[in-house]
Symmetry: C2
Subunit: 425 residues, 2 copies
């Protein structure tokens, strides 16, 4: 972790830089695979499963029995943990259901919004070093609340061609019936175009490596929506002298262990807090199984000593972190000044891993500075909000002059006629 001592404000921007990821250069390669899948369907998928995963897969779909029986491979405390997390995530996302609010903007002119589910959604869950079943809860629960008609899940099989039962159990728990053993760019391509065995979807959700991220970016060009642009995970902590350096160190490490390209930032107006945290990181790091990954991530990471908490918050808003912990005495008050962040954790007992798993809010959040212009996943991500309006004849009359005047000024006379013809008699 690199210590930065009271940098000038004009130099702050360089300390907000992320490790550079250039997906654009992958787009050509991904597009070739996409074209192949578009034209050859399952045949192409089988080819890429063999090429990239060294597997001969005959049937991508996981059977209903496998989904139903997956629980048998899990221990009871883990099942209870998943149930508690599900319950909290459900409570939080149920509260996001928008009530119909009918507005009469002018007498006789009533307007409102209603939410409708996106019919077909597809989730990508990476395999790799750890089975990220928690993301299935974070995507599946709001999709069920939204009432999406079809939810499918693609995830890469392991070297023996099977899928971790905890992935299957979690999919089953949130009511996903269509799970496919396929990973990487080819999974995203399959969901973009549809093949004989994998349905085309309207929106793709979920994390992935740089190839998956590039493929999601490309899917946009083919009319499929995506949850948000992605980048490596990140955490920023603002700490004052009421913070506990051991807690902060544990949080920074919990983020650093995600991947070697993760980034963690500590910002404080107390030098002591920074130095004690650095010491604690060294001690805690030694005992981590994912020691090497975390150590690499710490190389991309920074501890900034700034003059005041106000400056710390200003820096944080400039950085726009995915996760932000306010280890501050007056955290509620300071929270009002946070303008750019994915999710904010207040006080000394709100650790990021609570939000990663079980407190309720979604953990699919904007990274790489996208917290400036994107929200995290929520119930909103699974619906369209359609506007409705109903005008009576009197209502139309009440605004008719305005419509006619404006249509005429935009030189759109047929727009004007549509009003005039209704009020002629």
């Amino acid at each position: 972790m690199n210590f930065v001592n009271k940098p000038h404000k004009k130099d702050w921007i360089q300390y907000t830089q992320r490790p550079i990821i250039n997906q654009t250069k992958l787009l050509g390669q991904v597009n070739k695979i996409f074209k192949d899948i578009q034209h050859h369907g399952d045949k192409a998928l089988k080819k890429y499963s063999k090429l990239y995963d060294h597997l001969n897969i005959e049937n991508f779909k996981i059977s209903n029995n496998q989904l139903k029986n997956a629980y048998k491979s899990l221990n009871t405390p883990l099942i209870h943990a998943i149930q508690q997390a599900k319950c909290n995530i459900e409570k939080f996302h149920l509260a996001q259901i928008e009530k119909k609010n009918i507005i009469e903007t002018t007498a006789g002119v009533t307007c409102w919004r209603e939410s409708r589910a996106i019919d077909n959604v597809g989730f990508y869950i990476p395999g790799g070093t750890a089975p990220l079943f928690s993301t299935i809860l974070m995507l599946g629960i709001p999709a069920q609340i939204a009432n999406c008609k079809q939810i499918i899940l693609c995830t890469p099989p392991n070297s023996s061609g099977t899928i971790n039962p905890i992935i299957l159990y979690t999919a089953h728990v949130v009511g996903i019936k269509n799970v496919f053993a396929i990973g990487g760019m080819q999974a995203i391509g399959a969901m973009t175009f549809g093949t004989e065995s994998i349905p085309k979807v309207d929106k793709i959700f979920g994390p992935g490596n740089q190839y998956v991220t590039a493929a999601k970016q490309l899917a946009l060009n083919y009319g499929v929506a995506i949850d948000m642009p992605a980048g490596p995970s990140e955490l920023l902590i603002i700490a004052d002298d009421t913070a506990n350096p051991d807690f902060i160190a544990a949080d920074l490490l919990s983020q650093a262990e995600h991947g070697p390209d993760s980034q963690v930032i500590l910002v404080s107006n107390h030098k002591n807090i920074i130095s004690q945290t650095m010491k604690s990181i060294s001690q805690q790091l030694k005992n981590l199984p994912r020691y090497a990954i975390a150590e690499n991530a710490l190389k991309n990471s920074r501890a900034l000593y700034l003059s005041s908490i106000e400056d710390c918050i200003e820096f944080s808003n400039l950085y726009a972190p995915e996760h932000l912990i306010l280890a501050l005495k007056n955290h509620r008050q300071h929270a009002n000044n946070i303008t750019n962040a994915g999710s904010v954790f207040l006080g000394n007992y709100s650790c990021e891993s609570a939000g990663d798993y079980a407190s309720g809010p979604n953990h699919t959040l904007p990274t790489n500075g996208f917290a400036r212009n994107y929200s995290g996943v929520s119930l909103d991500s699974f619906v369209k909000k359609i506007t409705f309006q109903n005008l009576t004849r009197a209502g139309l009359k009440n605004i008719s002059k305005s419509i006619e005047m404006m249509a005429e000024a935009e030189q759109l006379m047929a727009h004007k006629n549509a009003v005039s013809i209704r009020l002629k008699k």
Copy 2:
């Protein structure tokens, strides 16, 4: 308009096709211009203004005086019309402010969402055949309600290098202080990278031709968000025997006059209604100033005779229209079955042009079938919804076992430690 007589359901999909627009082939050309703007700023902008608009522009920014005095060129009834529209659009979008809703998911675990404005937003308003000042209301009003820090507007100057005063007046009315006389791909490039005179923005909104649309698509790759992918405007009307053919014809023409690539669709379970509407279209068309444009759009357009209103609705959901008029007796009831649409107009007096200008809901809506997976512009488009959580020590304890179990199952031990270390003492 092409008449289609009771097509088989399996053939419906071909009648949902839009005129094909391929922006992808423009991306290379746009990217060249983007790179030039990224590296040469205003100098590049001046070059492209000369090349494409044949104008030597020294200063892109419109002065404050020009904005303030624009009203002098407008007549009073038009000013009143804009004021009434503004008032209704404000009422509708103010109702979209989300109230803070604090949820205690487990005792001691409180979570909520808060909206924060996207700091910097940029609008593109096309010049061309008609000055689309109404779009400035539709974008500027929610941006002001959201409290965006900086709102800029780019619009192409006319051949004499000036901007229509109605554009300037409307910008002034919604409080936009930074208006720039620049159009096309180069305007989108300027807002994507920022130049000496035009600031970089976080999100770009507004309509445009295929070049502007391709440029917005490309801006996404450079980390700028956009309102939604765009395509030509479209309207679908579902009519039963209570509909008025003259009204429907006027509505279809109001959509058709937008551009030669616009599309209008009439769907009915009454052949009479279709034939009478076709007749009325022929009569009304003759008197339109934008006759040629509307006539061309009608060539892309269809009237489908189907067996029942239920079938009409099913077809409409498959088409996913930007605008949908339900000219039906029981429109409220049928509205419940609409799943894919940008904005819905109920009954015989809710003409599309009411919503285009003055009823209140936003007119920036998903086209080209994107109503399947995107919402129209609303207050939500100008904010991020940030999640917050606050756990007491007891709260963390109440969910600690679940977090620890799940972290361990995902092989993320530092995630587990962040909880354990807090509860150790």
